[in-house]
């Protein structure tokens, strides 16, 4: 448990929000990277068909 002033809690909230939003925003790049892996498998499939 923690003792903080209202201003300090506000700062903690803002920092949490900033990092959470950043975490969610980066997921689209992870998705594109994963789709790229699928594309590689498709190419290999046709190469070794």
């Amino acid at each position: 448990m923690t003792e903080r002033t209202d201003e300090e809690w506000e700062e903690v909230f803002e920092e949490d929000l900033r990092t959470s939003v950043a975490n969610e925003r980066r997921l689209i790049w992870m998705e594109l990277l994963s789709l790229a892996a699928v594309a590689v498998v498709i190419v290999l499939h046709f190469v070794w068909h």
């Binding site: 448990m1 923690t2 003792e3 903080r4 809690w9 506000e10 903690v12 909230f13 949490d16 929000l17 990092t19 959470s20 939003v21 975490n23 969610e24 925003r25 997921l27 689209i28 992870m30 998705e31 594109l32 990277l33 994963s34 789709l35 892996a37 699928v38 498998v41 498709i42 290999l44 499939h45 070794w48 068909h49």
Partner: protein
């Protein structure tokens, strides 16, 4: 592949086997949408008075650490109370709780039931009656006795309650046993797929399937709207609570950045009991909420097509495998050329979905991904992986096979090759039978052998056969027993 109408129907039924993995891949495609569709635009600084409700039956080995960790949460001191509902424990829980109440006066409370063993919902209701008895509580966190919260988790959950349309918030439960074994690593990987991935997709859809039993935060208004009690008539009380919250027009939010660690079974028998209970609960929910599926509503999103497809892709998983396999076997005898074509098509589709979801899973939670990448790759099992290689890269596979024949001087006749092909067709559903055999090996005490076989047969087939067993138990109206998962305090604190 020209053929008769009968052949076309069989081909369609074979491809029906790809439905679960295709829908799973679709679910993963939705995840990127959290960049644009998330609840962070509606959050605010919100630190309500939170009562934490911990049901406990003979949990003295884990309660000490759990309470200490809860008291160390980064949350205002005067806004937190812990209520442990002791379900008539026969261990030293009463003595431990007396010591904890003395250590944290005014913050830790021990509620004891005289008669226990009726199930978690009854235990929770005992605590709810006390907590709702006065107006101190503004939000309630329901958790399990073994769950360890990261210090920032609670405040990351409560921020969503700034939006008064939100009825409940759930966190990302991760498997946290240390040291981890084969099974706990498979579970850890599975939890990334089911929670970090699956529930994020559900956030995008605006319909959440289940509040994690170990981390569900409710607003007081939501609990009162639910009647102030948990449904005791089902093994899936968490799912029923989740559905009833949303059917009442209140949102449920998954907060992936609030992390809690839980101890999961390290033996297949423990996993079996836990998951059969969950799966039977889901069979009950599927039936109890039958009017919800695929019926759009202005009040909630549970009736959406995407949500329904996702729900039934899990529910129908064993059925799709059995139907697909039987259709392949019939084609094997009636039209082998078509059978081989459609078999390859099925596995190529499955392979592409598998590559996409596995890669994405490992990237979503990189710390867990680094620990569990082997289990992620072997999730379908070595045999299915070999079939994937055969389907996607037949030339490479044939080269390997020819090389194998040259080295071993073991040349397969056409008949022997057909036996292999037949085995692969049967394996689509037969893997569940093999998974059941792995469970029997574990039951017999050969844990190391069972762990090794898990890599060969796959963890996925184990989950499938558990769902199948749950169907059968429900059809037989087997007794609904609350088989509590044993906890030993193996969760390691990591933040």
């Amino acid at each position: 592949m020209p053929g008769t109408v009968g052949d076309d129907v069989l081909i369609a039924l074979v491809l029906f086997g790809a439905y679960p993995l295709v829908v799973n891949a679709y679910q993963y495609l939705l995840i990127g949408g959290v960049r644009w569709k998330n609840h962070y635009g509606s959050v605010g600084l919100c630190l309500p008075r939170v009562a934490i409700l911990v049901p406990a039956w003979n949990e003295a080995t884990v309660l000490d650490a759990t309470i200490d960790r809860l008291m160390a949460l980064d949350y205002p001191t005067e806004r937190l109370r812990i209520y442990v509902v002791d379900d008539a424990s026969t261990d030293n829980t009463p003595e431990l709780m007396a010591a904890k109440a003395e250590q944290y006066p005014g913050s830790v409370y021990h509620l004891r039931r005289d008669k226990g063993g009726e199930g978690k919902a009854h235990t929770l209701n005992h605590g709810l009656a006390v907590i709702l008895g006065d107006d101190w509580m503004e939000a309630l966190l329901i958790m399990d006795a073994d769950v360890i919260y990261r210090t920032d988790s609670l405040r990351k959950m409560t921020r969503h309650l700034a939006d008064d349309q939100v009825g409940a918030v759930t966190a990302y439960i991760k498997e946290g046993s240390q040291p981890s074994g084969t099974l706990t690593r498979f579970i850890e990987y599975e939890y990334i797929t089911a929670q970090a991935a699956g529930r994020r997709a559900q956030n995008v859809l605006g319909a959440v399937a289940c509040l994690a039993g170990g981390a569900q935060l409710h607003s007081r208004a939501n609990l009162e709207a639910l009647g102030g009690r948990i449904d005791t008539s089902t093994l899936a009380e968490d799912t029923c609570t989740t559905f009833n919250t949303q059917l009442g027009g209140r949102k449920v939010v998954f907060e992936p950045n609030a992390v809690a660690l839980a101890e999961e079974p390290e033996r297949i028998i423990g996993l079996w009991k836990q998951r059969v209970r969950w799966a039977r609960g889901n069979v009950h929910v599927t039936s109890a909420y039958r009017k919800v599926w695929f019926h759009r509503s202005s009040v909630h999103r549970l009736g959406g097509i995407s949500f329904g497809l996702i729900w039934f892709s899990i529910f129908l998983l064993p059925l799709t495998m059995i139907v697909s396999s039987i259709s392949l076997v019939i084609l094997f005898f009636t039209d082998l050329a078509n059978a081989q074509e459609v078999f390859r098509a099925l596995w190529i589709i499955n392979a592409l979905c598998f590559v996409f979801t596995t890669m994405f899973t490992l990237l979503i939670d990189t710390s867990a991904g680094r620990r569990t990448w082997v289990q992620g790759i072997f999730f379908p099992g070595l045999i299915s992986l070999m079939i994937i290689v055969y389907a996607c890269f037949p030339v490479a596979f044939r080269w390997l096979f020819d090389h194998f024949e040259d080295v071993t001087h073991w040349h397969l006749s056409t008949g022997q090759r057909h036996v292999f092909i037949f085995f692969a067709y049967v394996w689509v559903a037969g893997c569940m039978l093999a998974a059941y055999a792995v469970k029997k090996v574990d039951d017999a005490g050969a844990h190391r052998t069972a762990s090794a076989l898990l890599y060969v047969v796959g963890y996925g087939p184990v989950l499938c056969v558990i769902t199948l067993v749950a169907y059968i138990k429900q059809l037989r109206h087997a007794e609904m027993k609350w088989d509590k998962t044993e906890k030993t305090g193996r969760v390691a604190v990591d933040g």
